[in-house]
Symmetry: C2
Subunit: 400 residues, 2 copies
């Protein structure tokens, strides 16, 4: 953000406080006895609630009677005691997390069960084995979106965390841009550097190495593609796809969504053309930049989220591009970013944006023959509009 002081690195960002209030409100509204989340290390709900990267084995978070309890496998109890602000209930070795969560609920609801009912709120994706333990213990499970909703509005500390990761994303895309700007293109149009073809996979690895140098992981999300599809999906099947040389004149998209050690993501998409001769890619780039500006003009607390997507689409259409016709269903024109790479709010949702939402606005034009042109901006919604996170500016012709 413009007025945010330089951060010493993605690593130093503190975790935000737990969202006990949202969970308590949902418990009250549902007349439930408590709330349970169970998950794996990267489960965003569990991470959000416990502020600890959960252990490999299932961990659980229980909210009951105004208290937060982390149910932690025995081998992680030292870490949990050091990091978790609430109580820590250690599993006996091998105890399933769901069984331990049921035991914690039992302790806190003793005697009150018959009078208040036994409804327990859970996120929609609680593992089935945990659900079975809770149901066997006599609890009725009811799904709640309270945590996903609470996650959509970021605290200042969360915004700082995302901003730090977005700075790393910007640096990594700049490194890709630098490699493209200093590449040679031979008579055949294939890009080369240091005597070797600059293939998509080589650029992807260099981008990821730059992310790592900034202390964040690429999280398997980095995609580099030229006109022909050569992204991470293709390279899983065949080495040759990622080894297709990138070419002068074709749009080259670099998309990253790295994750910091605190679990928060950045999100950045850029498109470069080496030795552009204008033509389709240039026109598409102007349209996409204009669509980005049109979408950003709609970003404001109290404005319906889908207005941004609608304006972006109208702008692309005004330039003669049909945002919906290219490659199957249109991707959403933008989405929230946080502990998940994509989360609420979606920019095609029929709900108002709120101050503290962090959204990636990412218009694109895709053509099966000519390739894809896309750019993005990551912004935090404010009462006065928005502020940009990270420090990147789009450029079409790569600059070293």
């Amino acid at each position: 953000m413009a007025d945010r002081p330089g951060l010493p690195g993605a690593v130093s960002t503190p975790a935000p406080p737990p969202a006990d209030d949202s969970v308590d409100a949902a418990i009250d509204a549902a007349d439930a006895v408590g709330f349970v989340a169970v998950g794996t290390p990267l489960d965003p709900n569990l991470r959000y609630l416990s502020r600890v990267q959960p252990a490999d084995h299932g961990s659980a978070f229980v909210r009951v009677s105004g208290r937060s309890v982390a149910c932690t496998p025995a081998e992680s109890v030292g870490r949990a005691n050091a990091e978790f602000d609430g109580e820590v209930a250690t599993d006996r070795v091998g105890d399933p997390a769901g069984e331990r969560a049921a035991a914690v609920l039992d302790e806190h609801t003793d005697g009150a069960a018959t009078s208040t009912g036994r409804t327990v709120l859970v996120p929609p994706r609680i593992p089935h084995d945990a659900a079975v333990y809770l149901e066997r213990a006599g609890y009725d499970l009811r799904s709640t979106a309270a945590v996903a909703e609470a996650r959509a509005t970021k605290s200042d500390a969360e915004i700082d965390a995302i901003d730090a990761v977005q700075r790393a994303a910007t640096a990594a895309v700049r490194e890709a841009e630098r490699l493209l700007a200093t590449a040679d293109s031979g008579a055949d149009g294939e890009l080369r550097r240091e005597g070797r073809p600059l293939v998509a996979e080589r650029l992807r690895r260099a981008t990821n190495a730059e992310l790592a140098r900034h202390g964040v992981t690429d999280a398997d999300n980095t995609v580099v593609r030229g006109r022909t599809r050569s992204d991470r999906t293709a390279v899983v099947r065949t080495a040759s796809a990622g080894n297709t040389p990138l070419r002068a004149g074709e749009p080259i998209t670099v998309v990253v969504a790295p994750r910091g050690p605190h679990g928060y993501h950045g999100s950045l998409a850029r498109t470069f053309v080496v030795d552009s001769d204008g033509g389709w890619a240039r026109r598409a780039y102007v349209a996409v930049e204009s669509a980005l500006d049109a979408a950003l003009a709609e970003i404001d607390a109290g404005t319906v989220a889908r207005a941004a997507g609608r304006e972006a689409g109208a702008e692309l259409a005004a330039f003669g591009f049909d945002p919906g016709s290219a490659e199957g269903p249109t991707p959403a024109p933008g989405h929230g970013v946080g502990l998940s790479r994509r989360e609420r709010p979606s920019l095609d949702a029929n709900a108002d944006l709120q101050a503290g939402n962090v959204v990636a606005v990412e218009p694109r034009v895709a053509d099966p023959e000519r390739g894809t042109v896309r750019v993005s901006a990551l912004v935090v919604v404010t009462a006065a509009g928005y502020e940009r996170l990270g420090d990147g500016d789009p450029s079409f012709t790569p600059r070293g």
Copy 2:
């Protein structure tokens, strides 16, 4: 592996064939109508079964009547058709994966339901919402470990995939070793490179950048620590922990468990001491190396898995180290490695090792005051013993 030709890179490793036979056998044994797995992109069971990195939204795999069906969100159907060998059933936009899976089961069991029963096998961690859809559709869910068991025995293609990632792991640890070997230690013992303190976080980032250059992700698993705890956990809470300078004379552990684009992991732990003066760390290193050799001598198809862990512990005890007393519960002396960083078989399990198991053997000595000394070897179990994966050798004094 010694006799395996050099691989062009982690990226080019083909995916192994699906494990239909194991699933069909489990279906038959349970007299079930089929098998359903539902999960997120990194769910190892779903990835193993479908051979496709699942989409962000829940995807499902259904095995019924000898056929494999991938239930894929609409935005991923092109990819699924290109990559999945079985049938692809596309969700209508917004259809939950569990609902689509139930529909696929219904199509294939029409009429037979009343006579054969409606049991459906699922992995233990199927999401609760998917389970609810299946149960509402009239199916009784029963957990099966068939997939986890099948995953423990690797095909040649899977071993190649792990070997390629392990080579990247070796290169990354060598880079860390090189940085340590060429560091300066001042009068205060703090290590410095290029005029700046060589803190644990700096070494961790350099290690991860080398992993990225080899086309694999660190998967948030890289831990660098000196005598004082300064690993990824601590840095989440405070920047200062990862910024503690590493020191001459203290054991510095570098632990990586990267993941390739195909989803398979490597696993490597090394301990270095800069300017060692012998003493405790040297003695611990000799004991740990000896324990590794003792454990490896027990690795053999048909030998009980826990024999390796037992021998490692006995060897440490013979050197005067108590493997169980250091920092809470003893970590397992080793474990399987594959689509999960840790999977079956555990080297404290009471089951026989089988040819094709890939196991990380990782003895360690930990002392709250002096630090941790650990090494590891990643091996594939064979009828004649084992073969080492990757190409690393332990060293105690860092070599540039």
